[in-house]
């Protein structure tokens, strides 16, 4: 059995988070100014500013203190306060359904062959706020083929841990526990889709979905299911938690779309955490170039 040894030194131990964050900024600024040098002088400032602002990292403190994770309470501050009761070691991930190699794996085995990489993504919540998060993780598209999904595998279903002893929110009936999310196979295999294990170069804090969570940056945040214990290949579209809770309000697709309002609030604008005013929301959260093709011919108002 191959057991991945954790690296002796975390990147975060070598570089303080503030500096660590700035190395990206440095690269980005360098790239932007490089490109800007080609533009007429009058436009340079605007380009640099726009690019810099759009992917400016949300502070670690905010990413880890402002969370929606109803398993630990319905208020944004609840997860940071209550998630200490979650035990993430040892952790097992069950792989089931239409595949040749189902099984129950330790998290280490599940992730073993794949090096993790950093991805800086915008995160847009259906409640019209957003963040920019430097995730650490493995693209789902490199993991799934290992289990050899069969031709019947049309969807992937993900399930969060069910344990009211560790997750006090599950003692209430706020949602239909355990939390379930799902993706169409081609969405799951899109190179943007990430299984995250860390942020800011450190292990995921419990309130952010430790030890393993999904990150689908072009969809509303509730699709990015946390603390995953089960991955199942299915032939039919999974019944997902928020879609069960409010079928008219939360769809299976849940692509970020300023043109399709949530029935109770507008999705045209969002407030980036740290900003006072709202900014325009981008179609597919700014990832249209990479993912719009997945939905050609689909009416996104019907499949919201």
């Amino acid at each position: 059995m191959l057991i991945k040894q954790p690296a002796d030194i975390h990147p975060s131990e070598i570089t303080p988070p503030e500096l660590y964050a700035r190395r990206r900024e440095f690269l980005k600024t360098a790239a932007v100014f490089g490109a800007a040098a080609l533009l007429p002088p009058i436009m340079r400032g605007t380009v640099a500013q726009a690019a810099d602002d759009d992917l400016k990292l949300t502070p670690y403190k905010d990413i880890t203190a402002y969370n929606n994770f109803y398993e630990f309470g319905s208020s944004k501050s609840d997860p940071a306060e209550n998630a200490g009761s979650l035990k993430t070691k040892p952790w097992f991930v069950a792989v089931e359904g239409h595949c040749e190699k189902p099984g129950r794996y330790t998290l280490e085995d599940f992730l073993a062959p794949h090096p993790s990489e950093e991805r800086i993504y915008r995160l847009r919540c259906v409640e019209a706020w957003s963040m920019v998060v430097p995730w650490l993780g493995v693209p789902l598209s490199t993991i799934l083929p290992r289990f050899q999904p069969t031709a019947s595998a049309k969807y992937v279903e993900f399930t969060t841990l069910l344990d009211p002893a560790q997750m006090p929110g599950q003692r209430t009936r706020l949602l239909d526990w355990p939390y379930v999310e799902g993706l169409r196979m081609d969405e799951a295999m899109n190179p943007l889709t990430l299984l995250a294990t860390g942020l800011y170069g450190k292990e995921l804090p419990n309130q952010n979905g430790a030890p393993l969570r999904l990150v689908v940056p072009w969809k509303y945040g509730f699709k990015s299911i946390k603390s995953i214990v089960k991955i199942r290949f299915t032939e039919t579209q999974p019944k997902t938690t928020w879609a069960i809770s409010g079928p008219g309000e939360y769809g299976f697709y849940a692509n970020v779309n300023p043109a399709v309002d949530h029935p109770r609030w507008s999705q045209k604008k969002e407030r980036r955490v740290g900003d006072l005013f709202r900014r325009e929301t981008l179609p597919f959260n700014g990832y249209a170039e990479q993912v719009a093709g997945l939905y050609t011919g689909m009416d996104l108002k019907t499949f919201f």
């Binding site: 403190k61 905010d62 203190a65 402002y66 109803y70 319905s74 944004k76 501050s77 409640e127 706020w129 706020l174 949602l175 809770s245 409010g246 309002d261 109770r264 609030w265 507008s266 045209k268 604008k269 407030r271 955490v273 740290g274 006072l276 005013f277 709202r278």
Partner: protein
């Protein structure tokens, strides 16, 4: 009790209630100064001002039942001030929306009011409070005569609108809005009971 004491209460009572009613605002300002509004300060401001709007509305509606239950008629003198503080916190709440959520984007505001039921009822509640605030002066009370009370019964509608506004905006956890709804139901239910009882007594006397 010396004869001066009641007068002292009535003289000090209003300033004390006034200062106490400003405490939520002072507290908010302090949080802003300390940078303690959390990751989404505007949302915190919006929630706090909304919470205090509802609390003051319920406090205002509690004055009459409390006066009748305790027989402490002096309570009545605080009702107008509490009502005006309700209006004050609702304006603060609306101001946060107007400035930070929409930045005076009139078209977006009209769209919100027309399409989103929770905003429709919240906005209606604020609009209905305006005539009540305007007619709260002694002169207006005198001028309106019996109509003043008829007009000010609108506050029952406003209470319902305020609670609905909160109920319709939460995603899944209805606990807090239901607490407000429960308190409102008790306060309005008490009035209903009082009116039917007074009507019965009036009939039996006749």
């Amino acid at each position: 009790m010396t004869p001066q004491q009641p007068r002292l209460i009535s003289r000090l009572g209003k300033p004390l209630v006034f200062i106490a009613s400003l405490l939520p605002l002072v507290w908010l300002c302090w949080l802003i100064r300390q940078g303690q509004l959390g990751a989404n300060p505007v949302e915190t401001l919006s929630h706090h001002s909304g919470d205090w709007s509802l609390r003051f509305l319920l406090l205002t509606l509690a004055v009459t039942p409390l006066r009748r239950l305790t027989g402490w008629n002096r309570l009545q003198q605080f009702r107008r001030m509490l009502g005006l503080f309700t209006f004050f916190y609702v304006c603060l709440h609306f101001g946060v929306y107007l400035i930070f959520d929409q930045f005076f984007d009139l078209r977006a505001i009209i769209e919100d009011v027309a399409q989103r039921p929770y905003i429709t009822v919240g906005f209606a509640g604020w609009l209905l409070l305006i005539p009540l605030a305007v007619t709260s002066t002694h002169t207006m009370i005198k001028r309106l005569g019996r109509n003043w009370q008829r007009l000010h019964r609108l506050v029952y509608v406003i209470g319902a609108l305020g609670v609905l506004h909160y109920l319709w905006l939460v995603k899944a956890d209805l606990t807090e809005p239901l607490v407000y709804a429960g308190v409102l139901a008790v306060l309005l239910g008490y009035r209903l009971w009082w009116w039917t009882r007074s009507a019965r007594i009036a009939r039996s006397i006749r």
